[in-house]
């Protein structure tokens, strides 16, 4: 993604011939095969979703999306993903801070804990949360089949994103400016707000975009946990699935298109943020 900016300036004339702009016959063929595969697997199927969504005309699309139950699902999904992203901005930054700046016994274990939500199958993630916050909870907290369950599931699956985008930036950060601010009498909070935060803000934003996108598209962890009650705990993905199961593919495609549009906006935002980060670095 950053290849253009990072490629070193060519030093010898010879290296200009083999690369720099031109595809050789073999690499051209490789690109062709790769594009064919990528199209068959990703591009054509996603195009089919959008095409199917508009086959019923604009009114059909609009009816499917503004259907009361669907609209409630979209509101719940987007609203919860937004709240969870806010929590992640605070907690993710704090966790990254502790991992980089703090030193204590067992820190390595925290590193592993943070990646678990990424690697754990989502259905298992749901079961995992259910075992502590479900009907058999040893804590006596039962939030299964409530909106809190949706919030908790999103919180679990999006945990790694901000931590993992902020952590490397914080580790690379030059601490001289912070030391200077502190020696000039700035409080720790002021130093953080005026010196550290501006440097890690793009990383936080990138992580927040990923975390939001992941929350909006979540499905597996909710199956066992949220009960999928219409109008209350049903998220958009569940809504799409029930349309598929009722053989209402145009309806499913219409709601899926809304999700795709959200992902698309997030990806564009992320691309812009990454470009800004690279330019600064």
């Amino acid at each position: 993604m950053t290849s253009a900016t990072l490629a070193p300036a060519p030093t010898a004339l010879k290296r200009r011939r083999g690369r720099d702009g031109r595809l050789t016959r073999t690499s051209g063929l490789g690109l062709g095969i790769a594009m064919l595969w990528f199209s068959l697997l990703v591009l054509i199927p996603l195009a089919a979703v959008v095409t199917t969504a508009v086959t019923g005309g604009w009114s059909g699309f609009w009816d499917a999306v503004t259907n009361e139950q669907t609209a409630a699902a979209i509101r719940l999904t987007v609203g919860t993903a937004f709240l969870v992203t806010l929590v992640n901005i605070v907690m993710g930054t704090l966790i990254a801070w502790v991992l980089v700046r703090d030193r204590f016994f067992g820190q390595r274990a925290l590193e592993v804990l943070i990646d678990i939500p990424f690697a754990l199958p989502t259905i298992v993630a749901g079961l995992v949360l259910l075992s502590l916050y479900g009907p058999d909870s040893p804590l006596g907290v039962d939030i299964a089949n409530t909106r809190i369950a949706v919030f908790l599931a999103f919180l679990f699956v999006t945990l790694p994103f901000i931590v993992r985008t902020v952590q490397p930036v914080l580790a690379e950060l030059d601490r001289d400016a912070e030391d200077a601010a502190a020696s000039l009498g700035a409080s720790r909070l002021t130093t953080f707000r005026r010196i550290t935060l501006p440097s890690i803000a793009p990383a936080i934003a990138a992580g927040a975009a990923l975390s939001f996108a992941r929350g909006v598209s979540e499905y597996g962890s909710l199956v066992l946990l949220s009960g999928n009650l219409p109008m209350r705990t049903e998220v958009t993905s569940v809504r799409i699935l029930s349309s598929i199961e009722n053989d209402n593919l145009p309806g499913a495609a219409a709601v899926a298109t809304v999700l795709l549009a959200i992902s698309f906006v997030v990806i564009v935002a992320l691309d812009i943020i990454q470009r800004r980060v690279v330019r600064r670095g």
């Binding site: 690369r19 030193r103 925290l110 690697a119 298992v124 598209s217 992320l270």
Partner: protein, 275 residues
């Protein structure tokens, strides 16, 4: 990093408060719940695990999951390394767009992935499905569909690990090898591949974890037929909903074990590569 944390100003009480908050948060959100799944899996000693190993349908599901994951990882590794080389070493029109599109699978809902594949490869009224099916090749509600769905969701993982390593590497060594008469294959096998080895290994481990655990997309395309197209993650759901909690916990435990093992492997090899 460690040697730079000395200044006294960071030793205030707030440091311990933050540490405590972070540890408590991770304990309640991840550590304790994950531990409980292990505990529930062994609630009857090894009975639950024996139960799933003796059930031929569950064994079939586990085999199917492993087979699909291996195929998906191989496809994604070959494709991922190839496209990373193209993205980093060559210029072509639309490169920036392609690079952005390759991240799309990460932010698409698994249900939408399943729907997209059904719309194109579905046997009844998909775009290509009826043609493929009349040629005797069923995709949806069969193993090829499960493979496609799994490859889709894990697609960017190898690329995201390999691209930064290739960029860091530069191409001087490759150019040297070429000028000494090595052909493209020799250059790749002797120079490029050893240098990007760790990036590829991470990507493979992460893809493997993701592929073994895919649930939503597989649920849509597989048809979830017991003993045929039901995968391990679908077993967890079915057993739990059918009040066989022991079986659900035991299968979930196996899946979680593999996932955690993958994470630990990555965290053990990562620092080596960083330094």
């Amino acid at each position: 990093m460690a040697d730079r944390t000395a200044p006294a100003r960071t030793r205030g009480p707030s440091r311990y408060v933050i540490r405590l908050v972070v540890i408590a948060y991770l304990f309640f959100l991840v550590a304790w719940p994950v531990y409980l799944v292990g505990k529930n899996a062994f609630s009857d000693g090894f009975e639950n695990l024996r139960g799933i190993i003796e059930d031929p349908d569950i064994v079939h599901a586990l085999n199917l999951t492993i087979t699909v994951a291996i195929i998906a990882v191989v496809i994604n590794t070959v494709f991922g390394v190839g496209i990373s080389l193209l993205l980093v070493r060559y210029q072509f029109p639309g490169k920036r767009l392609l690079s952005a599109l390759l991240d799309v699978p990460l932010s698409v809902s698994p249900i939408v992935v399943g729907l997209a594949l059904v719309l194109v490869y579905g046997g009844r009224n998909g775009w290509f499905g009826p043609t493929l099916e009349s040629a005797g090749f069923q995709v949806i509600f069969a193993t090829p569909g499960i493979v496609l769905a799994t490859v889709f969701v894990a697609l960017p993982l190898v690329i995201r690990e390999v691209v930064p390593v290739l960029e860091e590497l530069g191409d001087e060594q490759e150019q040297a090898a070429r000028s000494l008469g090595a052909n493209a294959v020799q250059t790749f096998l002797r120079i490029t591949l050893p240098a990007i080895k760790w990036g590829v290994i991470y990507g493979v481990v992460l893809s493997l974890a993701r592929s073994l655990g895919e649930f939503g997309a597989v649920k849509v395309v597989s048809g979830n037929v017991l003993g045929e197209t039901r995968t391990a993650t679908l077993v967890v759901e079915e057993n739990y909903l059918n009040f066989d909690k022991g079986g659900a916990y035991a299968t979930a435990f196996l899946l979680a074990l593999v996932a955690v093992a993958c994470i630990i492997v990555v965290s053990v090899i990562r620092p080596k590569e960083d330094r």
